[in-house]
Every structure is written in C-alpha cells, then in structure tokens.
Symmetry: C2
Subunit: 241 residues, 2 copies
C-alpha cells in the first residue's frame, strides 16, 4: 500500500502483533537483522520501531532488544483519531447508527466560536445517535466547514464520513485535540438517548485539523456515563525528567 519502507515495516509488525502472531513478551529480531531482512539501513528500521514503541506495541531495552507489550489493544475505544465505524468493527458488537439530521446550516454563535469562524458561515451539521446492543448510548454532533466539504448526504453520514473525506475528497487529516469532561444532561440528550434517571453525561469535544492546519471539524460526542471508557498509552519524554 504505502511505498515507504519504514511504514511498511511498521504495519507488518502492528499486524503481526494485533493478530496475535507475535505474542506479549516475544523478542523481535534485532535492528540489524530486520534491516537485512528488508534490505534497508538500520536507521530506517529504527524509525519504524520507534513508532511501534510510541504507540504502545513494543518496548525497547538497550543491550537486550525490543519486546512486544500487552496493552489490550482490542479495547481502545477513543484513543487517537479512530472513528466510530472503525471502532465498532474492531469491537464486533451489534451497533447501529441513527441519523437525526444532515443539513447545511449557518453556524450559531457557539459553533462559530468552536470552529473559529464568523457567525453565520455555513457548516454541515450532522447529528447521530449510536445504538449499542439495543440501547442508544452515544450522541454525536458533528460540524464540518462547508468551505471544505461541498456535499454531504445522509447515506455517507450513516456509513462513515471519514472514509468519504479521506477516500473521495482525499482530505488529509493531520491531528486532533480532544477534551473530555462531564456535564449536566441536556434536554436533547434525554430526547435522543436512553438515559433513564441519569443527571450527567460524558462529553468528548474533538477538534480536527487538516494538513494545512485548518480547523475543519468540531465534534461533540456525548456518552452515557456507564458506557464511557477511554484508554491512553503514554511514554515518558526526554525533557520531562
């Protein structure tokens, strides 16, 4: 797929680790051996192994080697930039998406502030409820810059907007900022989700940026308390000690 040697090595190993072909604790071949195997230089191999290490797949120990970590990678509900569709496939659960709204609307004051645009500038508003095993537990409210996305219909909203953006529009998503907090349930939450007597709801605010640093999407993902989980892997940085 990707012609870069280092990302080929990276995905070869992520695959082997995710499928269980390489199990927890297993020692990888040495950097020199992998370099020889791929007929490349050691620095290129190191680039791939560094990425594996950053993402919690392996841990490198000087003088010893690189070892596969056990990070329960199957349950990464919100880490990184993975979309709901990809997630539900990974989890293999009975999930369904109910699209409540797909419309091109002028941005409200609140949304304009989140997306750092002028009030009234057009945005695509998409409201979707996520049903897991028969219960509506997540409410996703997405807002996309209309200047970046020409058309958006309900079918793509039900399927995967990200596949459409990256596939057909070939928009390049670069990075995102996520904020998690807990707030009081709104009237809309009560109407569109199965909440019983809940008083609070987890809110994940997601700001997504393109390669050219344009902020093009703001998402508010509202999760019922008992169905929320977030997993994060972090490494100690050089500057922090």
């Amino acid at each position: 797929m990707n012609k870069n040697i280092f990302s080929q090595i990276y995905s070869d190993y992520t695959q082997r680790i995710e499928t269980g072909l390489l199990k927890t604790g297993i020692k990888l071949p040495s950097e020199n051996e992998i370099a020889e195997e791929y007929a490349t230089s050691r620095e290129t191999v190191r680039k791939a192994l560094h990425l594996l290490s950053q993402n919690g797949y392996i841990h490198k120990i000087r003088g010893k080697g690189s070892f596969v970590l056990d990070m329960n990678r199957m349950e990464f509900p919100l880490s990184g930039l993975v979309s709901f569709k990809e997630l539900s496939e990974r989890l293999g659960r009975t999930v369904q998406t109910l699209v409540h709204e797909t419309a091109l609307v002028p941005s409200t004051q609140s949304i304009a502030r989140q997306l750092k645009i002028a009030e009234g500038e057009p945005v695509w508003k998409v409201v979707r409820a996520r049903e897991i095993e028969g219960e509506k537990v997540i409410l996703d409210k997405d807002y996309f810059l209309a200047s970046v996305i020409p058309v958006l219909n309900e079918d793509t909203a039900r399927d995967s907007i990200y596949a459409y953006l990256e596939g057909e529009l070939s928009l390049k998503i670069a990075y995102a900022k996520k904020e998690i907090s807990v707030e009081k349930v709104s009237e809309e939450d009560r109407r569109l989700l199965d909440l019983a007597r809940d008083t609070h709801i987890v809110i994940v605010r997601n700001y997504v940026y393109l390669e050219d640093t344009t902020l093009f999407q703001y998402t508010e993902s509202r999760h019922r308390l008992d169905k929320f989980q977030f997993v994060d892997f972090a490494r100690r940085n050089p500057g922090e000690e």
Copy 2:
C-alpha cells in the same frame, strides 16, 4: 542538563513555546538553519522537531516549514505522565494535599490482580485527598510494589513521590497505561471528599511501568465530576490511512 543534542534542541523549543517567546503561527527556522546553529546534522534536528510535532508543539508542512501550534498547553490536566504536584505548579492554583494513609500492607486480592502479583505480597498503600481552592475534589489511591521501593514516609507522600522515585531512588519510569471511566461513588469517596449529592465519580486507573517493563505502580485517581477534565493531542499515523 541532558547531553543529547536532539533533546537539547527539543527542550530549547518547548521552553520558548511555553513561555510565549515563540507564539502560535510563528515559523521556525528551517531544519538546515537549526542544524547549522547547533553545529549538528539535519537528521539530529529532525529528531527533535519530530518530537515537538508528536507532542503538539509544532506542525511541519512540506515545502513550507515548521509552525508553532496553539494547543492551550497550560491546561493539560492529565495527559501524559505528569504528576499532580507538577500540575498544580503549572496551574498555579491553591492546592493542598491531605495524606490519609501511608502504609506497607499485604496486597488484597483486588490490588494483587491490578499489579499482577501474588495476593499478600507487600505493597505501599498511599491514600491522598487533593484540595483545590478549599474543596476536596480528588482522591488518589496509590499502590507501589514494595520490592521496588524500600521506604516511603508521609513527608514524601505529601510532597512528590515521583520526585523521590526518580531523584533519590533513580527509578526510571518508561511508560503508562491510563483508563478513564465513570462509576458509582463509594462510601470512602463520600467520607474523604466534598461530594454533596453526587451519585457518580470519574475514575482514572493508571498503570505505571519501569524501563525493564516491570509494572510497579497502580493508581486509582477518583475525581468529582465537575472538576474532571482531560485533554489529549493525537496525530494521524501512517498505518491508519
């Protein structure tokens, strides 16, 4: 401090960005210029810039240059491996720590499972309530492998255990796994925190590993709903597209 050239460059720039000396949107010198400035090779500079990019300080654009990002770095309450003490200093708030317990105890079944040790193996148990602006809103329950930490007294618990571990014991913390969820409040929560009529509480479970992949600490950080916030920065990986 650190004799590595790349981490020197890294911390030079994190400092300049954090202090506002380099503001959002500013273009960094080109990689060749920085290399010349530090009398080093371009690949070494690239290593530093890559780290800056991974941690949300800058964004690199091919053909254009590297630019400082605005990631509101002052409010990173839980990202990475930063400790409460470091945080409170950064936030500059009125914070206080109440140590409720500092004891060497045999591990219970539950704790033994979390730390993957045999039931009964000795662990240091530290229970601390965190008071922010007069309200007790966070309850931290730490468990450390006693085989790794010989002594631990209440003074270090009140100050910073991490400074003690990394400074005096020179333990090297390598990575951590964090899990965030929301659960029902416990009787202990009610006793040690200012909760009013809250029914739920945010729980951050933190598993901390050393350089040799030993799991040596398990922490349960229990946050009052309204005082909890988590911020995360994520980049798109090569394998994900």
